[in-house]
């Protein structure tokens, strides 16, 4: 902290490499901020998933109310996340829970829309076979449709995770904790080394979370489904994308 130079731009990395900011005890230390950020992000994602996954599965399985899933997905994409956070905080008061509410609301559309699209994308012949084998509706859903739709469902969760991570950062403007504090406080104090430390840490966190979720995806997706995906070469995968380029893309824009 004592490294503040007269012109802060001169020392870009002062804050990031100052050991004093990494102490575990300080309540505004980097590890503390990191833990807050991860905690809020995962909590919001978990609650959103509890709401959005069942609804998305239901709509996908029954194909009733598809317009809800599609409309919500489009609406969520155009909603300015920063505006929603500040709206809820201004309306409900500067507390943690309105921000968490905003994060949950933001995470629901990508999860719900992609879960719906994932279930609809399952090969109908496989579903027919499952019914023909005498499976009950819930067995069809959880033993045939979900395993085959899992890569796309997890894709939706990953999009939501990135969106929540990013929005939790800007929520620091409304006094929210987490790594965004470094960015916002640094901007207010005109201390660019702190801003840059925050930017690098936030970017690293987002990339790390995305890699971890990619790893989890690899572990939980059935090898049969995965192999089918990889055996379809690049060419036929892009043929699929021609039909639904936005749903298929792992870099789908949802932030």
């Amino acid at each position: 902290m004592s490294l503040v130079s007269p012109t802060p731009m001169l020392n870009y990395f002062g804050y990031l490499f100052d050991g004093a900011n990494w102490h575990l005890s300080g309540d505004s230390s980097i590890p503390e901020r990191l833990a807050q950020h991860i905690g809020y992000t995962l909590a919001a994602l978990a609650i959103a998933a509890l709401i959005a996954l069942p609804v998305g599965l239901l709509i996908g399985h029954t194909n009733r109310g598809a317009f809800i899933a599609i409309g919500l997905g489009n609406l969520g994409r155009s909603l300015p996340t920063f505006g929603l956070v500040l709206l809820l905080v201004t309306y409900l008061g500067v507390y943690i829970w309105p921000v968490l509410l905003a994060l949950i609301v933001l995470a629901i559309p990508p999860i719900l829309a992609q879960t719906y699209a994932a279930i609809r994308s399952v090969d109908p012949a496989a579903v027919d076979a499952a019914v023909g084998m005498g499976m009950r509706p819930l067995q069809v859903l959880f033993q045939a449709e979900v395993p085959m739709a899992l890569p796309l469902i997890i894709g939706g969760l990953r999009n939501a995770l990135l969106q929540v991570t990013a929005t939790a950062t800007i929520a620091a403007y409304a006094s929210f904790g987490g790594l965004g504090r470094l960015l916002i406080d640094g901007l207010n104090r005109n201390q660019y080394d702190q801003v840059l430390a925050g930017a690098i840490l936030v970017a690293a966190l987002a990339i790390a979370l995305d890699y971890i979720s990619a790893f989890i995806e690899r572990v939980v997706v059935s090898p049969g489904v995965r192999e089918r995906g990889s055996r379809r070469s690049r060419r036929s995968r892009s043929a699929v994308r021609t039909q639904s380029p936005t749903e298929e893309s792992p870099v789908s824009a949802s932030r």
Binding site: Y12, L75, R77, S78, L79, P80, T81, F82, G83, L84, L86, L87, V89, T90, Y91, L162, T165, A166, T169, I170, Y173, A174, G180, L183, I184, L187, Y192, V195, L196, G198, A199, I200, V202, A203, A206, I207, D210, R234, R235, S238, A239, R241, T242, P245, T246, S249, P250, V251, S252, A253, S254, R255
Partner: protein, 215 residues
């Protein structure tokens, strides 16, 4: 709400105009750069995976962090509008380069072979055959990028240039929800209008997609 608009419409209007160019300039820049990059990723197969991977990593960086890392790299102040413009251009490029590459790969086949047999040279084949055939997919990516950009611009309010985002920060500081609601509604309307505009543009450019069953 109405009275707020009546009293402040010059401000709201200028924020709206700023929002529009902060969102659309990056779409144009990103799209213009993604065409050669996507084409290169198809022509040089060893480039395809790096383009996809770098794009995915870039895309996962939260917007505020990206906006604030750019000043170190290009050496401007962190309140320069260039940071937002470059940041959004990078997002657009990351999304579209892959879309263009995948779209160009997906159109390879009988039609491109026929074009070659007719004596089309590579560049003429690209502009006369492959790009028009790939247009629907590229346009779908363009729509996603445009809508995403319009909703992301408001984050720029934290670094000095945020278009309608100025209504969010202003409303928050004064404790008024009206400007925030107006900003959200206008931002979503803008996204919707640009989306419709792109759909209409695509219909004009690719009239054949409307003929026959498969649209």
């Amino acid at each position: 709400m109405i009275t707020y608009l009546q009293n402040n419409y010059p401000e709201v209007l200028s924020d709206l105009v700023e929002h529009l160019w902060l969102a659309l300039i990056p779409v144009v820049v990103g799209a213009a750069l993604s065409l050669p990059l996507g084409y290169l990723a198809v022509r040089v197969p060893s480039l395809y995976q790096p383009v996809v991977n770098v794009g995915a990593v870039l895309y996962s960086i939260p917007s505020l962090a990206l906006f604030l890392m750019i000043p170190v790299i290009i050496g401007v102040g962190y309140l320069s509008p260039l940071n937002v413009l470059i940041g959004l251009s990078l997002y657009t490029l990351a999304l579209l380069a892959r879309t263009v590459a995948d779209a160009l790969i997906s159109v390879q086949g009988e039609t491109t072979q026929a074009a070659r047999a007719l004596g089309y040279r590579p560049l003429r084949q690209l502009f006369g055959v492959e790009l028009p055939m790939a247009a629907p997919v590229i346009f779908a990516g363009l729509r996603v990028a445009t809508v995403a950009n319009i909703s992301l611009v408001s984050v720029g309010a934290l670094v000095g240039s945020g278009g309608l985002g100025n209504l969010f920060t202003g409303g928050f500081q004064l404790g008024f929800v009206e400007p925030i609601i107006i900003g959200i509604v206008l931002s979503m309307l803008l996204a919707g209008l640009c989306d419709v505009g792109l759909v209409l543009l695509q219909r004009r450019l690719t009239p054949w997609t409307r003929v026959g069953g498969r649209a």
